[in-house]
């Protein structure tokens, strides 16, 4: 049998003292047969190299001169593309291969882009957004005609997201332009490999792709890390600062630790706290998405060079190559998802056959339960995470415009092509036509402004973009990431520190201090769109709050926690403070039982609260929150809002909620929720994203950055106008479909309502109960706007005014 590995590669492996992995060989053999592949391998298994080897071999055997793009590599992170380009270039130089490698991302300069257009590289590393942009140019067909391989890294992180939809559509386009193209998907271990295989497959069918599964490394070694005697385990909170000294002890014990946290705010706080107690001056760094790119790069380099003992990181270090020989990870705060936890644990997996070491540090008494549950789930390899859902229509709208910008198209051919992308295999012709109609003229029931269509149709039936200006405008708005508006933070000297959420910035008063990049800054004021600061000091700095989607506990992990709570026999694993807390709850209120629903009502800060201890996960609680507030509105309680945590739900209202049994009646599900939900802030947020991605409203406009706040207002008003006059408009359908992902299907709530019927344990309290304390601090509150509650608050204020007026 012929050696699949050419001599120059064999020598290279040997010189480095490496042996080629079986899965790397399997990838080479599949590529020789022209097969597309899905490689599932844990971190540290030479996954990326396995993806590139077939292309490197092909290019060494049949050099392509002058260069044409032979292979495209797409990853979700710009930084990852850059980093892999560097290491791949070194490999190619060491072997002396005639292969040119370049990146193309949002950071690529205009000069470089122009040069790439003239002399393309053999291997182009890029992101979904930049690939989409390349496909929108009229020369796209020529650029990609010689393409042989498409490598998609971190498939698990892309499939099921809007960026994933965008990439799947681009990939379908590439297969049309280059029919001989084979694809390679690289993925971490996931709960739904069949769906991921279909996602990568060029036909959208899981059977048309070769699956290569690398062997899993050794079983990870997971344990809990509780605060030591210098620390404390609070009732509530998510930050985990009480574990600081215990974490430091663990860092001192090993060579390199990644301390994973759940939010940027938590990263800032914990970093600050670690340094406060870092008497040995251990080099500890900080890494999160709001730091300047330069700062992040410095930390990555220091890590790779072995200069750091620990890095406090958010999901910014979840993906990608190893930055160093990480020996252990510490997860501080709730793990939330088993799959994510397993991937984080994999970061400490630089030697595949040694067990990864992971410590879980709960941030509150409640989180001890969740950490215990996650430990069990990891041992049982019970991965969670839903399979990727159907492709979104706003992304399709953007892609149709991308295609139109590259040249005229026939709708029938485009429909067939789109359906070869797995997320869109079930797309109906009606939905396709409606989206096309939207791209063409807005797709409104009122046919107006004939002169101003975006696309026009020629006598052959092909669609064209009306003019160059529209294309130029559109290209500036390609992309599916709708950021929470962020503002740059600079010192008066002009030094850039990082970014903070616009909302947080709007709450700052001159003189306030806040933490960023582990340092304290004093807010001076706003200058244009920049936050001006000076170095500050304060005992009580504020912590920047960042918006965006917070991860919620997976359904399977939530049910493990519920089972634990309902079974006092299992409590012996819980530390004493947790048992004390549950005990206090038992004395002041009741404990939630296995087959009832504990509902507490109490006044708090001038409002009435209703707290339901459901333990069904945040998504289910979100839906229940909508149902309950609608009921409260009907009952005249004047609800003002609700907040859902993974464990509980709270609604607050102007008046005391009564008749709790009736409120939770099963027929609640029969209520028509459509109108009530449509009015919610959640749907409005969803619509804003859909409107931006689909191109209804613009994100960038030449010469002027529209104020983001203004944009929010106008998308809200557009939403109202559209709902009233075009309730079946394709973008409203897209919004409802998107939102349905966030709201758990009603089956789960139906089952709960059935289970608890006649078993509602209503406790009326005079103040907040121990169990609901964490909920009072929960972020992500949903307001009920324009309801009877607001009218009543306004009427009260008006009456107070009249009184003062009369007495004055």
């Amino acid at each position: 049998m012929r050696d699949p590995l050419p001599p120059v590669f064999r020598t290279w492996f040997a010189r480095r003292g490496w042996r080629i992995h079986p899965h790397q060989l399997a990838m080479i053999e599949a590529a020789r047969r022209g097969e597309s592949t899905l490689l599932i391998a844990p971190t540290g298994g030479g996954k990326t190299l396995a993806g590139f080897l077939p292309s490197l071999i092909e290019l060494s055997e049949k050099p392509v001169q002058p260069p044409k793009i032979h292979t495209i590599y797409v990853s979700p992170l710009k930084a990852l593309s850059t980093n892999i380009a560097d290491s791949l270039s070194r490999t190619v130089a060491e072997m002396g291969l005639p292969v040119c490698i370049e990146t193309r991302t949002g950071d690529t300069s205009a000069t470089q882009r122009k040069r790439q257009q003239k002399t393309p590289p053999h291997i182009l590393l890029t992101t979904p957004e930049s690939l989409s942009l390349l496909l929108s140019y009229p020369d796209a067909a020529g650029t990609f005609a010689g393409l042989r391989a498409l490598i998609i890294d971190e498939v698990h992180a892309l499939a099921g997201t809007k960026r994933g939809d965008q990439l799947a559509l681009c990939a379908a386009r590439l297969n049309t332009l280059a029919p001989a193209l084979r694809r390679s998907g690289l993925s971490a271990t996931v709960s739904c490999p069949d769906a991921i295989a279909a996602w990568v497959s060029p036909t959208g069918n899981a059977d048309d792709i070769r699956r290569v599964v690398a062997c899993e490394g050794a079983e990870p070694d997971v344990s809990l890390l509780l605060p030591d005697r210098n620390g404390y385990l609070p009732w509530s909170g998510r930050m985990g600062l009480g574990s600081t000294t215990a974490i430091l002890t663990e860092i001192a014990r090993t060579r390199l630790t990644i301390v994973f946290v759940n939010s940027r705010a938590q990263a800032e706080l914990l970093f600050q706290e670690l340094w406060k107690h870092n008497t040995d001056n251990l080099p500890i760094g900080l890494h999160h998405g709001s730091l300047g790119a330069e700062k992040r790069l410095r930390v990555e380099q220091a890590m790779a060079a072995g200069q750091l003992r620990a890095v406090v990181a958010t999901s910014s270090l979840d993906l990608g190559i190893d930055w160093g020989d990480v020996e252990q990870i510490i997860q501080v705060g709730a793990p939330k998802e088993v799959t994510r936890l397993v991937q984080r644990i994999g970061r400490a997996n630089h030697r595949m056959n040694e067990p990864s070491r992971a410590l879980l540090a709960p941030a509150s008494r409640f989180e001890v339960l969740e950490c215990e549950a996650a430990k069990e789930a990891v041992a049982a390899r019970d991965l969670d995470g839903p399979p990727p859902g159907p492709g979104t229509l706003d992304v399709l709208a953007q892609h149709i415009m991308v295609t139109a910008c590259s040249g005229p198209f026939f709708p029938d051919a485009l429909y067939d092509e789109v359906r070869r992308a797995a997320p869109y295999w079930a797309l109906s012709r009606k939905d396709f036509d409606d989206v096309l109609g939207f791209v063409q003229d807005g797709g409104y029931a009122l046919k107006a402004y004939e002169r101003h269509h975006r696309l026009f149709r020629d006598s052959l039936g092909q669609f064209w973009v009306r003019n160059e200006r529209i294309m130029k405008q559109f290209r500036m708005n390609i992309g599916t990431i709708v950021d929470t508006p962020m503002l740059r933070v600079r010192t008066r000297g002009g030094k850039q520190i990082g970014e903070i959420d616009e909302y947080f910035a709007s709450t700052l008063v001159p003189g306030d201090t806040f933490l960023l990049s582990g340092e304290l800054f004093r807010f001076i004021g706003m200058r244009d769109t920049t936050v001006q600061v000076s170095k500050g000091s304060s005992k009580e700095p504020r912590i920047p709050v960042y918006g965006g989607n917070r991860l919620s506990i997976s359904a399977s992990l939530a049910s493990r926690v519920r089972a634990m709570l309902h079974n006092p026999d299992a409590w012996h694993v819980l530390p004493e403070p947790v048992r004390n807390w549950l005990d206090m709850q038992r004395r002041r209120s009741h404990l939630p039982g296995a087959d009832n629903l504990l509902v507490e009502t109490f006044p708090h800060r001038n409002r009435w609260y209703l707290v339901a201890c459901c333990f069904e996960g945040r998504n289910a609680h979100q839906t229940l929150g909508m149902l309950l507030t609608k009921r409260l509105e009907q009952a005249g309680a004047g609800p003002l809002g609700f907040v859902a945590s993974d464990y509980m739900l709270a609604c607050w209202s102007v008046r005391e909620p009564v008749n709790i049994d009736r409120l939770f009646d099963e027929d609640m599900l029969g209520d028509d929720l459509t109108e009530w939900t449509a009015n919610s802030a959640m749907l409005r947020r969803t619509f804003r994203d859909v409107a931006i991605i689909s191109g209804l409203i613009e994100r960038n406009h030449p010469g002027r950055e529209k104020s983001r706040r203004q944009m929010t207002i106008s998308s809200d008003l557009l939403y109202d106008v559209l709902r009233r006059h075009d309730p079946d408009h394709v973008l409203l359908r897209a919004t409802r479909a998107d939102a349905a992902h966030g709201l758990t299907d009603l089956d789960r709530i139906a089952a709960m309502l059935k289970r608890i019927r006649g078993r509602i344990d209503h406790v009326r309290l005079s103040r907040v109960s121990p169990l609901s304390v964490p909920l009072m601090l929960e972020l992500g509150r949903e307001k009920i706007k324009g309801g009877a509650g607001e009218e009543q608050l306004l009427a009260e204020a008006d009456a107070l005014f009249a009184e003062a007026d009369a007495s004055g």
């Binding site: 409104y444 009122l446 106008v721």
Partner: protein, 228 residues
């Protein structure tokens, strides 16, 4: 819908929950910042916003005119979103404007968005207007002469208030003894918080606010320097 009477320069005015003002003595209906054809203003650049805002705004105005039967309707400027707005008007909306022109005399004040009158529309165009002690203009003037009061638009005032820990934001009227700012009447117009110096700077003393509710207005006061 419940109107709120106020007295300005000795004249009784009715503030309406729809965001308009009715002056019973002059039988005048006053609205501000209609921004007609705002949604169609960027169609040439390929932006295809829902084409319903002009119709919605004009229907609301027609309903008000039907109810109050004014002799005259004064639009306080920025009635049309841009210079070409008149050319883009759909025939149905032109018809609505014609009906309004039959119902009352239309007086359009010029604004920064519509400094020039669109062609072939009913009504009279003027930069400013006066009825007794009441002065009407788009952008408030620096000084209002003694004995007079001013009605103006331009700023789209909104008030953000926190009541029992709940923060809400509503379009509102802003008034002191000399000046009344009207909220915007356009269906897709945004707003500016009354604490913004552009608005609060016009009111040296306390600002009296009337916030729009479902079917009434809610009264509040805000003093300069009041921050939550």
């Amino acid at each position: 819908m419940t109107a709120s009477p106020v007295i300005l320069a000795g004249e009784t005015l009715l503030l309406l929950p729809e965001g308009a003002v009715f002056h019973p003595a002059g039988r005048t209906l006053i609205v501000a910042d209609l921004h007609l054809e705002k949604s169609s203003s960027r169609r040439e650049a390929g932006l295809l916003l829902p084409p319903y805002d002009t119709g919605v705004t004009l229907e609301r105005l027609t309903a008000l005119a039907t109810h109050w039967q004014p002799q005259r309707i004064i639009a306080l400027g920025d009635s049309f979103h841009d210079r070409e707005a008149g050319e883009r008007l759909l025939s149905a909306d032109r018809a609505r404007l014609a009906v309004l022109g039959e119902m009352a005399e239309l007086l359009w004040l010029t604004g920064n968005h519509d400094p020039v009158a669109p062609a072939d529309l009913p009504g009279v165009w003027q930069a400013e207007h006066q009825e007794g002690p009441l002065l009407f203009r788009h952008i408030p003037a620096g000084v209002v002469p003694p004995g007079f009061a001013e009605l103006a638009g331009h700023f789209h005032p909104k008030a953000r208030v926190t009541l029992r820990g709940h923060t809400l934001s509503r379009p509102c009227f802003v008034m002191d003894g000399r000046r009344l700012l009207l909220p915007a009447s356009g269906a897709t117009t945004g707003g500016l918080d009354v604490r913004d110096p552009a608005i609060s700077g016009l009111f040296p003393g306390p600002m009296q606010l009337w916030l729009r509710g479902r079917n009434r207005l809610f009264r509040m006061t805000l003093r300069a320097g009041d921050v939550e």
